[in-house]
């Protein structure tokens, strides 16, 4: 965990330096960001990165499908997708404490963040983070479940990780995208994973706008959950496990 934190902080400093230089070059304001709010974006995204997990570990569901262990999951009296979601929410909550909060603290102490002073953005922000983690989980689950049809999922995983990190706004905020790229990003669930929780938490969107962002996130939770359920049901019909 400490190792992850250290790397998180180094990347945070590099990203902050680049984006600060871009803001200075643009004359102090860029795509609605000032130096302080850009700092909040950088350090919140570094802090949330561990929780929302944009990469896919091969040890997830895909590996259990490959080995046939998934059959055991199907015989359990709990919903397969639901049980993996529960485990992932627990994992996310755990990474927030030793890795997320210290990352934000380092940013606050070294470069300073502009954060909202009222309570509401934090409450709504917490909801938004939970929804973001859920969207991320449902997307990763759907990609992993493709293992029912594909022997090797590395190609699909790489494709997912690249698209997810870029469109979630990990290296450059989605708000800095040119209009056409923004349209593409908004057509994917990825901004709901990282950019939306940051926008709500940092107070970039407030009031009705913030509620609208959270509702869009909830919409993606439902959509990605359904895709995962349909794929699971189809895969279960196809599944054939040898041995006994």
């Amino acid at each position: 965990m400490l190792a992850g934190l250290c790397t998180n902080v180094v990347f945070g400093f590099i990203r902050a330096a680049i984006l600060f230089a871009a803001i200075a070059s643009a004359g102090g304001h860029l795509a609605g960001y000032s130096r302080g709010s850009m700092s909040a974006y950088v350090w919140l995204s570094q802090g949330l990165l561990g929780a929302v997990e944009l990469s896919i570990q091969p040890t997830d569901v895909a590996e259990r499908i490959r080995t046939g262990d998934i059959a055991v999951d199907f015989t359990r009296p709990v919903d397969v997708q639901g049980s993996y979601l529960a485990a992932d929410l627990g994992r996310a909550a755990y990474t927030l404490i030793p890795r997320g909060l210290p990352s934000v603290a380092v940013g606050a102490l070294t470069v300073g963040l502009v954060m909202p002073s009222s309570v509401l953005p934090y409450v709504l922000g917490l909801v938004s983070v939970v929804l973001g983690v859920s969207v991320s989980f449902f997307c990763r689950y759907a990609v992993n479940i493709l293992g029912f049809w594909l022997v090797e999922t590395r190609g699909v995983r790489t494709f997912y990780i690249v698209c997810a990190t870029f469109f979630a706004g990990l290296f450059v905020p989605v708000h800095m995208f040119p209009a056409w790229l923004r349209v593409i990003a908004d057509a994917t669930p990825f901004p709901s994973i990282l950019q939306s929780p940051i926008d709500v938490l940092s107070g970039r969107v407030i009031g009705d706008d913030a509620v609208r962002v959270v509702v869009i996130q909830a919409g993606w939770v439902v959509a990605t959950c359904l895709v995962g359920r349909v794929l699971t049901a189809a895969g279960r019909r196809k599944l054939e496990v040898q041995g006994g």
Binding site: C6, I14, V172
Partner: protein, 273 residues
Amino acid sequence: MADLARVADWSAPYRAVIASRIRAQRSYPVSFGLDLFGSLLVGVTEFAEVWVIFHNVSVLGGLTFHAVLLVFGLSNLAFSAADLVVGHIDTLPTYIRLGTIDAFYLRPQPVLAQLMTSELSLRRLARIAVAVAALVAGLVTNDIEWSAAVVAMLLIAFVGGAVIFAGLFVCAAALQFFLINGAELTNSFTYGGSYASSQPASVFPSPLKALFGYLVPVVFTAYLPTLWLLHLPGPAGLPAWLAWFTPVAAAWVCLAAAQLWRWGSHHYQGGGG
């Protein structure tokens, strides 16, 4: 001729291993195609991140978009070449954890040499292609007075840069003997170094400049050579003429890598069993 024959003789096992790896990777063409495509996409999105910033501003850290093409191309070319040849030693923690590294110690070849020559991931060629495209675009769009010195600088930057990144991979692997599962920590200077090297170093605050300028000297791979090629003055502490000292930076990384590897591989006590 005798020397040449000896080199051919010495490299025969390596060539056999590499040929078998290449055949293996090509025997599943769809999977290999997806891998290549994924690798290409990684390169393209990394470039897109730079491009999005320049969509918003015209100058970053004193460099124009055309100048940044050179930095991006040089840094990515050096990194992906190093990644192709030695990047797979990041599987070392798996060998250590499973205890299978013991088998490497028993064979009559240096452990590091065995690890380095164990694989050649052809999919990484796709990233090299992206880097070459950016570099060529940078060389064409910038006003460069071609001379022997320019060619020499490009060669020094590429070879020196690749050696620097390869050395960093070895340093990271050597630390795994102590950290066991510390890839997350060493990523901060391998992948973090690669990321930092593709950016104009002038934007960094002083501690980062010292870190990536001298301790983990990745600014020598792309930023300094670009400054020299375009006759630009460097920021305080990183003057453009330092680019000629890229071989010194590479030697420093190699020295650190050799020492760390010696400590690491001697520290290893065996997996038992």
